[in-house]
Amino acid sequence: MTPARILLASHGTPGARAAEQAALSLCAREGTIWHLEVVPDFWKGMRGDDWLNNAITQQRFGDYVESQLERELAEHAEALSREVLDRGFSYENLSVLGKPAECLLDAAARETFDLVVIGSPRPKGTPGYRSRMKMETLVRGLRIPLFVAPHPDR
C-alpha cells in the first residue's frame, strides 16, 4: 500500500525531521501530508508559582510566550510546507495545544488517513522539552497504521 493521506506529527527536532523525511519518501504521488504541530500543555502551568507580578506583567508574559510559540510553529510549518510542495504533494497544517498522544489521536479521528508518521524519542541527555509521546496511549487508540522513524543519532 502506498499511503496517499499521511498524518505527520513533527515539531522540528532531529527526531521529528527524520519523521518528515520518512513521510516525504512514503507518500504516494500527488498525496497529501497533514502536518500536526502540538504545543505541549505544560505551558499552561508555567506561570503557576508567580504571585508577585501585577496583571500587566502577567499578561505581557502570556502574550510574549504565545507569540514566540506561534512564531516557532509558523517558521517550522513554512519550511516543511515548502519542502512538501516542492516534492509535488499537498500540504495541510494543524496546530493544537495539549498532550502529544491525545492530540495525535484526536487529529487522526478527524479525517481519513492511510498512515500516521512520527519520530522516535530522542536519546537520553539530548536537550529538549520533556513532553514525550505516550506510545501505549497512542498504539491502543490508533485505528490506522503507524510508522515510527528511527532517530538519526541512534
Binding site: G45, R47, D49, W51, N54, T57, Y129
Partner: protein, 520 residues
C-alpha cells in the same frame, strides 16, 4: 463568554461544610476532637465552615439552577467554586490532617532534643496544604468548574501580605528593612552577576543567561515572568528556567525548615535565611510558616525580605534590559524606557502593606501605645489580681532585688497586686529576665505582666485572617505547580542554577549565623 459551569460540586461542598459546622456544634465530633487535640479550634470550625458552607450552598444553587449570562456577575460568581474548593482542602488539612500527623508523630516520641518528627520536618498545615494542592493538580487535575477560582489564591497571598502590615512596629520595620536591604542587595546583585558571569563562561545565549539570572537572583518564577520578554528569551529557555526554579523552590521549602531546626535558628535568623536563600517568594512564606506554625514572627521577617526582593525586581529588570540591548545585535538600537519598566513592574500590593502599617501606627486597630498589636492596660478584674499566696512569695524574695528602680516597681506590684504602670511593666520584665528571683517568683512576675498586656481585638482578628489567607493562598498556589512544568528543568539552567542556588543558600546561612542576632 460564560464562565459559570453547571455543576453540583459547589453545592455538595456547601452541604458538607454546613454538616461539619452542625456536627461540631452539636458535639457529635467530640471523640475525634479529643483524639486530635483540637478542642481550641471547635469555635473556628463551627464558624468558618458554617459561614462558607452557606456561601457554597447559595452560590452552588445559582451555579446549578441560575440563569448564566455573560457579564461581571457570571465572571465573579464562577470563581466561588474554585475558591471554596481551595478553602475546603485547606480546612480539612488544617483542622484534621495536620493535627492527625502531629498525634502520630508525638506517639513516636521526640526525635531531636525535645522536638517531634513533624516539627523537625515542618509537616504542618501550610506545607501539607501546599502538598495537597500539588497532589490535586498532578494526580486528579483541577476540575473545570474550579479552574477560574484557583487563580484567586494569588489575591489571597497579596491580601495576607497587606494585612501583615498591621503587625509591625516602626522599630521592627526599620531594623528588618535595613537588614533585608543589605542582605538582599548583596545576594540579589551577587546571584544575578554570578549567573551572567557563569553564562558567559559556559557560552550560553544572552537571552538564556538574562532570564535565568533574574529567576535565580530575585524572586524565582515571578522574576522570570517579568524578565523573559525583556531579554527576548526563547520558549525552551523559559521552560528550562522555570522548571529549574520550581524544583529548587519546592526542595528548599522542605529542606530549609529541617536545617533550621537542626541548627536551632531563631525566628529572625530563619526568616532572614529563607527570605534570602529560597528562590520562590511563595515558598519563602511556606518555609517560614513551616518553621513556626503556631506563630507568625518568622513569617513577618521572611515577608519583609520578600517585599524587599520584589522592590528590587524593577531595578533588576532594568539592568537586564540595558545589559541585553548592549550585548545583543538583534536588540541594538532599541531604547529602554526606564520609567515604563519601573512603573509596570512595581508591585502595587506593597503600597497596600505600607498603608496598613501607617494606619496601624495611628492606633486605628490598636491603642497608639501598642507594640506589635499588644498594649498596656492595668484596668483589670479583681479575679486577675495576684493572689495572697503570690504576693507573699514576692514579699519573701523582695530582699534579693538590689536595683532601687526594680525594688520600687516590685514594691508597687506587691502593694497593688498588679503592675502599676507601663514603666513598671518594663522594669518588672527586666527583673524577670535577670533571673534574680526563684523560678516560682519569676512565674508570678510573668503572670503579672501577662494580665496587664493585651492583644487588640482587631489585631487578633488580623492574625487569624493572615494565617487563613496564607493557608488559602499557598494551597491554591500548590494547585498551580505542575509536575510537567518541573520536569522541564534541564540543560545549562539546571547546572548554573544548581551552582548559584547552592552558593546563595550556603553563603547566606553563614552570614546569618555570624551576623544576625535574635533581638531587635
Amino acid at each position: 463568554m460564560v464562565y459559570t459551569k453547571k455543576h453540583p460540586a459547589l453545592l455538595i461542598m456547601g452541604v458538607l461544610l454546613v454538616a461539619l459546622a452542625v456536627a461540631t456544634n452539636a458535639g457529635m465530633l467530640d471523640g475525634l476532637v479529643d483524639y486530635l487535640k483540637i478542642g481550641k479550634k471547635t469555635g473556628e470550625i463551627t464558624g468558618m465552615s458554617g459561614f462558607f458552607g452557606i456561601v457554597g450552598l447559595a452560590v452552588g444553587a445559582w451555579h446549578m439552577w441560575g440563569k448564566h449570562e455573560e457579564g461581571n456577575l457570571d465572571y465573579y460568581l464562577s470563581s466561588v467554586g474554585g475558591a471554596i474548593f481551595i478553602l475546603f482542602i485547606a480546612m480539612i488539612v488544617t483542622w484534621f490532617v495536620a493535627p492527625w500527623i502531629a498525634v502520630i508523630s508525638k506517639s513516636m516520641g521526640p526525635v531531636m532534643g525535645a522536638k517531634y518528627l513533624h516539627q523537625v520536618l515542618g509537616l504542618n498545615y501550610i506545607v501539607l496544604g501546599i502538598v495537597a494542592g500539588i497532589i490535586t493538580v498532578n494526580v486528579f487535575k483541577i476540575p473545570g468548574w474550579a479552574e477560574n477560582g484557583v487563580r484567586l489564591s494569588r489575591l489571597g497571598l497579596k491580601t495576607g501580605v497587606i494585612l501583615l502590615g498591621t503587625l509591625y512596629s516602626l522599630a521592627e520595620l526599620a531594623h528588618l528593612g535595613k537588614l533585608s536591604v543589605v542582605m538582599i542587595g548583596f545576594f540579589v546583585l551577587g546571584s544575578v552577576g554570578l549567573v551572567l558571569f557563569l553564562g558567559g563562561r559556559r557560552k550560553i545565549p544572552n537571552s538564556m543567561a538574562g532570564v535565568l539570572s533574574a529567576g535565580m537572583g530575585v524572586c524565582g518564577v515571578s522574576a522570570t515572568v517579568a524578565a523573559a520578554p525583556v531579554v527576548q528569551a526563547k520558549p525552551t529557555e523559559i521552560a528550562y528556567t522555570i522548571g529549574t526554579i520550581l524544583i529548587w523552590g519546592v526542595g528548599c521549602m522542605f529542606l530549609f525548615p529541617v536545617i533550621g531546626h537542626v541548627l536551632n535558628l531563631g525566628h529572625i535568623q530563619f526568616g532572614a535565611w529563607a527570605g534570602t536563600g529560597i528562590l520562590n517568594s511563595a515558598q519563602v512564606a511556606g518555609a517560614a510558616l513551616a518553621y513556626q506554625p503556631d506563630g507568625i514572627e518568622t513569617l513577618k521577617v521572611a515577608e519583609i525580605f520578600n517585599i524587599t526582593r520584589v522592590l528590587f525586581l524593577p531595578l533588576i529588570v532594568l539592568w537586564l534590559a540595558i545589559w541585553y540591548v548592549r550585548r545583543e545585535e538583534s536588540a541594538a538600537g532599541t531604547k529602554v524606557n526606564v520609567g515604563k519598566v519601573v512603573i509596570e513592574k512595581f508591585p502595587l500590593f506593597v503600597l497596600g502593606f505600607i498603608l496598613m502599617f501607617a494606619l496601624s501606627s495611628t492606633g486605628i486597630f490598636a491603642p497608639p501605645n501598642h507594640y506589635k498589636g499588644k498594649y498596656f492596660d492595668n484596668d483589670i478584674k479583681e479575679s486577675k489580681l495576684l493572689t495572697e499566696a503570690e504576693v507573699a512569695l514576692l514579699t519573701t524574695e523582695a530582699a534579693k532585688v538590689q536595683s532601687p528602680a526594680r525594688a520600687e516597681a516590685l514594691a508597687r506590684l506587691i502593694e497593688g497586686r498588679k503592675i502599676a504602670n507601663i514603666d513598671d511593666d518594663a522594669t518588672i520584665r527586666g527583673l524577670t529576665n535577670a533571673k534574680v528571683l526563684s523560678k516560682d517568683a519569676s512565674k508570678v512576675l510573668k503572670k503579672a505582666h501577662k494580665v496587664v498586656y493585651h492583644t487588640a481585638k482587631k489585631i487578633k482578628q488580623f492574625r487569624q485572617w493572615i494565617t487563613w489567607l496564607f493557608a488559602f493562598g499557598l494551597t491554591g498556589l500548590g494547585m498551580q505547580i505542575t509536575g510537567a512544568a518541573m520536569r522541564q528543568a534541564g540543560g545549562q539552567p539546571l547546572v548554573i542554577g544548581g551552582i548559584v542556588g547552592t552558593i546563595k543558600a550556603v553563603l547566606s546561612l553563614i552570614v546569618i549565623l555570624l551576623f544576625v542576632s535574635e533581638t531587635i
